[in-house]
C-alpha cells in the first residue's frame, strides 16, 4: 500500500467537499483536484480526525482471556479510533513505570492505534497510598492521565493530594465517582425498577456527592479534574455549575449511558450490568442534552471486555462492564446528527479533539488540514447496520447486538496507514 495517496471527494465536518492528500503519515494538502499515485474515491464519506478514547480497558497484562492490547486496538480501529487510553486496572495494576511502559510498547508492537497507558492514582487501586505518579509521567510512556477507575479515590485527603501533585507534570486525575459505602453490594440503578426487581440499588447520590466534593477540591487547589462516565441528570447539573464557576473540570459520558436505560435490567440479562449502572430515561435525556450543549466534553467508551463465563450466569455473580469501541461512533451519530440537534464538527470534538486535549495527546485530534498528522476516519453516514456479536474484541459482551445503528466506519487511517479499509481490518498493524 502506498504511503502517498489522495482521498477523493471527502465531505469535511463543515460540509464542504475536498480532496485530502496524505504523504508519509502527514496531511500534505487539502483542496480540489489533488492527485497522487493512489486515488481513493470517498464520495459521500465524512472525514473526521481519528477518534481518541480516553477510557478503554485493554485488560493486558493479566486478563488476556478478555482482551489484549492487540485485539483491543483492532477493535478500536474498526470503531474509527486512532488512539486509546488504557485503564490501569490490569494485573499487575498499572501503578509503576514498568507496567505503563510495557503497555505502551505492546501498543507500538500492535500498530493499530496509539496506546496511552493511564496510571493508577494509588498503589494497587487501593485508595490508600499514592502510586509513583512522577515516575510514570517521566517514563517512556509519558503518562498524563491517572485514574483508579473501577474504584473511586474516595479518601478526600488522598484525592486532594493527587489533584495537587499531578500539577507538577501537567497531569490530570480522572475520577470514577462512586461513594463506596452508599454502593455496598449495589447491582443496578436505585429507583422504581430496582424496587420491583429486588436488586440492591446504586443510588445517583453516590455519584453526585463525590463529583460535588471533587469539583470543590479541584477549585480549592486550582487543579484540573476529569470526571469519568457521568450517568445521572444530577451529575450534569453539578458539572454545569462547576464550569460556570470557572472550575477546571471536564466530563465524559459513555455511549451506553446515552442510549440504554435500567428498564433493560428486567431481563436479568447481565450484558446490561455495568458500573455506573444504566439509569432512567430522564438521565439519558439530560446526558444527551449536556453532550450537545458542551456541559459534557467528550464521549469515552469505557470498553470493558469480559469472557463469556463472567456474563453467562445469574445477575449478582456477573461482572460489571460492556463493550463499546466498535459502536461508539454510531451512537454519537444518533445523538448528535440523527437527532438534528448538533453537527459533525461537534462529533469530531467529542470523539477526537477534546479527548486528545484532555489527555495531552500531541499527535491526535488534529484538524483535517495541511500539516496535521494523518489520523483520519471516514464514515458513511447514510449506512445503517445491525450489530452482531462477532467483533475484533476477544469478548462478546456487547449490549447492542441486534440493534440497528446509523453510520459505518469505512476507513481508519492511523498516521497515514490504513488500519481499516473498506470496513475490513488490516492484516497487520502499522510499523
Amino acid at each position: 500500500m502506498s504511503s502517498n495517496f489522495v482521498l477523493k471527494n471527502v465531505t469535511l465536518a463543515a460540509g464542504d467537499t475536498k480532496d485530502i492528500q496524505v504523504s508519509d503519515g502527514l496531511i500534505v494538502a487539502v483542496g480540489a483536484d489533488l492527485a497522487a499515485d493512489e486515488m481513493i474515491d470517498c464520495t459521500g464519506l465524512v472525514a473526521l480526525p481519528g477518534f481518541v478514547d480516553l477510557h478503554t480497558h485493554l485488560r493486558e497484562p493479566g486478563f488476556e482471556q478478555s482482551e489484549t492490547v492487540l485485539t483491543g486496538t483492532q477493535s478500536a480501529a474498526l470503531g474509527g479510533f486512532t488512539a486509546v487510553h488504557a485503564m490501569a486496572n490490569t494485573m499487575p495494576v498499572a501503578d509503576t513505570a514498568g507496567v505503563v511502559e510495557q503497555v505502551a510498547s505492546l501498543g507500538i508492537e500492535a500498530g493499530y492505534a496509539e496506546v496511552f497507558p493511564i496510571g493508577a492514582v494509588t498503589i494497587g487501586l487501593e485508595g490508600k497510598q499514592l502510586a509513583e505518579l512522577g515516575a510514570m509521567a517521566n517514563s517512556k510512556a509519558q503518562v498524563k492521565v491517572f485514574s483508579d477507575d473501577g474504584k473511586c479515590v474516595h479518601d478526600p485527603v488522598i484525592m486532594r493530594r493527587a489533584l495537587e501533585y499531578v500539577k507538577a507534570f501537567d497531569g490530570v486525575i480522572a475520577q470514577h465517582a462512586q461513594e463506596p459505602r452508599l454502593t455496598e453490594g449495589a447491582q443496578m440503578h436505585e429507583g422504581a425498577v430496582s424496587a420491583e426487581l429486588g436488586l440492591t440499588g446504586w443510588p445517583s447520590v453516590a455519584e453526585e456527592s463525590i463529583i460535588a466534593r471533587d469539583v470543590l477540591l479541584a477549585e480549592h487547589v486550582d487543579s484540573r479534574i476529569h470526571i469519568c462516565h457521568l450517568s445521572t441528570a444530577g451529575s450534569v447539573e453539578i458539572i454545569r455549575w462547576a464550569k460556570a464557576r470557572g472550575i477546571k473540570v471536564t466530563a465524559e459520558v459513555t455511549p451506553h449511558h446515552l442510549l440504554l436505560t435500567d428498564e433493560l435490567v428486567r431481563s436479568y440479562d447481565s450484558v446490561y450490568k455495568v458500573n455506573p449502572p444504566l439509569r432512567t430515561e430522564e438521565d439519558v435525556e439530560a446526558l444527551r442534552e449536556a453532550l450537545i450543549d458542551g456541559t459534557i466534553d467528550i464521549i469515552a467508551t469505557d470498553h470493558a471486555p469480559h469472557p463469556i463465563e463472567s456474563k453467562d450466569c445469574e445477575w449478582n455473580a456477573a461482572a460489571f462492564g460492556m463493550l463499546g469501541l466498535e459502536t461508539a461512533a454510531s451512537i454519537a451519530q444518533d445523538v448528535l446528527i440523527e437527532s438534528g440537534k448538533s453537527s459533525w464538527t461537534r462529533l469530531a470534538e467529542v470523539l477526537s479533539s477534546a479527548p486528545a486535549r484532555i489527555g495531552g495527546d500531541d499527535n491526535q485530534g488534529q484538524m483535517i488540514q495541511t500539516g496535521s498528522v494523518a489520523n483520519i476516519v471516514l464514515i458513511d453516514p447514510k449506512a445503517t447496520r445491525k450489530v452482531v456479536a462477532d467483533s475484533a474484541s476477544k469478548s462478546k459482551n456487547s449490549p447492542y447486538v441486534g440493534l440497528e445503528l446509523p453510520g459505518r466506519v469505512v476507513h481508519t487511517i492511523f498516521k497515514g496507514y490504513f488500519t481499516v479499509r473498506d470496513a475490513q481490518l488490516a492484516q497487520r498493524g502499522r510499523h
Binding site: 436479568y268 453467562d312 455473580a317
Partner: protein, 319 residues
C-alpha cells in the same frame, strides 16, 4: 404455562384456577392415603442454593404426594465461591432428565435466568430468588386468606375488597413483592407499613399505599389481614433501625395492636417467626393467627402448582 417465575406470570383467572386446584389437593391431604398418581414417572429436582428447610420440605411433600421422583440438590453458597456455576448445575440436571426444577437462589432473577437461558428444558418453579419474588408463598397466602373469608365456599372466588397490610422489611422481602402482585390481581387492596429505611426509595411502580406508622393504619383502615414479615438478622446491625427493642415497639405486632383489629381479621406470618421482635407470642398463638394454616396450605398450593405445570392432561394454554 410452563414456568412459575413470578406472581406476575399469573392473571386473575389462572391464579384462581390454581387456588381452586389447591382446594381439591387439600381434600387429598385430608384422606388416609394422601397420595395421587398424577406425576408418576416425572422427576422433580429441588435445587436449593440457600438454606430453607421449611420451603424445601413443603415442596418435597407436595411432590411426593403427587408420586413424583424427588431429588434434593443442595448447593450452598454462591456459584462463585462454590466453583460450580448455575449453568453447569442446570445442565447437569438437564442431562439427568429433570422434568421440573424447583429453585431457591440468593440472587434475584436466578429463576428467570434458568428458565430463559436454554440450559434446561424442564419447567422452572421459583421457590424464592434473592430479594425478588417467592410466588408460591404468595399463592399459599392468598389461599389462606380466601379460606378464612369464604370457607367451603371459596372455589372460583378472588379477594375483592380485602384490605391487607404487609408490615416490616418490604425492601428486602420477596414475600412482599410476590404478595403485592398476586393480591392486586385478585382484587385486594395492599398497604405497606415499614420504617422508611426498609422501604424502596422509589416505590412508584409498586401498587401499594405506603405507611410509616403501624398504629395509624390500625386506627384509620378497617384491615382484614395483617401480614408480618420476618426481620433478618443481617438487618439488625446495619443501621436500618436503632435497636430490636425500638423496632418491636413501633412496628412489632402485639396483644395491644391485636385488640385494635376486628375479630374476623387475621394475622399472617411466612415463618420462621422471631417471637418478641416482629410478632409477640400472644398474637402468634391467637385464634386470629394463621401461621400453621399457612404451612398446611403451602403443601396443597404447591401440589396445585406442580399439577398445573406438569400434568400432561392439561392444555398448556389454560393455565
Amino acid at each position: 404455562m410452563k414456568n412459575l417465575l413470578s406472581a406476575a406470570d399469573l392473571n386473575r383467572e389462572s391464579a384462581i384456577e390454581i387456588l381452586d386446584i389447591a382446594e381439591e389437593m387439600a381434600g387429598v391431604n385430608d384422606r388416609d392415603i394422601k397420595k395421587l398418581p398424577t406425576l408418576r414417572g416425572k422427576t422433580v429436582v429441588n435445587l436449593f442454593f440457600e438454606d430453607s428447610t421449611r420451603t424445601r420440605i413443603s415442596f418435597e411433600l407436595a411432590e411426593k404426594r403427587l408420586s413424583a421422583d424427588v431429588i434434593n440438590f443442595t448447593a450452598k453458597g454462591s456459584s462463585v465461591s462454590k466453583g460450580e456455576s448455575l449453568k453447569d448445575t442446570a445442565q447437569t440436571l438437564e442431562a439427568m432428565g429433570a422434568d421440573a426444577v424447583v429453585i431457591r437462589h440468593p440472587s434475584s432473577g436466578a429463576a428467570q435466568i434458568l428458565a430463559h437461558s436454554g440450559w434446561i428444558q424442564g419447567s422452572i418453579i421459583n421457590a424464592g430468588d434473592g430479594t425478588h419474588e417467592h410466588p408460591t408463598q404468595a399463592l399459599l397466602d392468598a389461599y389462606t386468606i380466601r379460606k378464612r373469608f369464604h370457607g367451603s365456599d371459596s372455589v372460583g372466588k378472588g379477594l375483592d375488597g380485602v384490605k391487607v397490610a404487609i408490615v416490616g422489611d418490604i425492601l428486602h422481602s420477596r414475600v412482599a413483592r410476590s404478595n403485592l402482585l398476586l393480591l392486586n390481581r385478585l382484587g385486594a387492596e395492599v398497604h405497606f407499613v415499614a420504617p422508611p429505611t426498609l422501604l424502596p426509595s422509589n416505590p412508584s411502580n409498586l401498587n401499594a399505599e405506603v405507611h410509616f406508622s403501624l398504629d395509624e393504619i390500625l386506627s384509620e383502615i378497617d384491615l382484614d389481614v395483617v401480614m408480618m414479615l420476618r426481620i433478618q438478622s443481617e438487618r439488625m446491625n446495619a443501621s436500618y433501625f436503632p435497636s430490636e427493642r425500638e423496632y418491636s415497639r413501633i412496628w412489632g405486632f402485639n396483644a395491644h395492636r391485636l385488640s385494635k383489629l376486628k375479630d374476623s381479621a387475621i394475622v399472617m406470618h411466612p415463618g420462621p417467626m422471631n417471637r418478641g421482635l416482629e410478632i409477640d407470642a400472644v398474637t402468634a398463638d391467637s385464634k386470629q393467627s394463621t401461621v400453621l394454616e399457612q404451612v398446611t396450605n403451602g403443601v396443597s398450593v404447591r401440589m396445585a402448582v406442580l399439577y398445573a405445570l406438569l400434568s400432561g392432561e392439561r392444555n398448556a394454554d389454560v393455565i
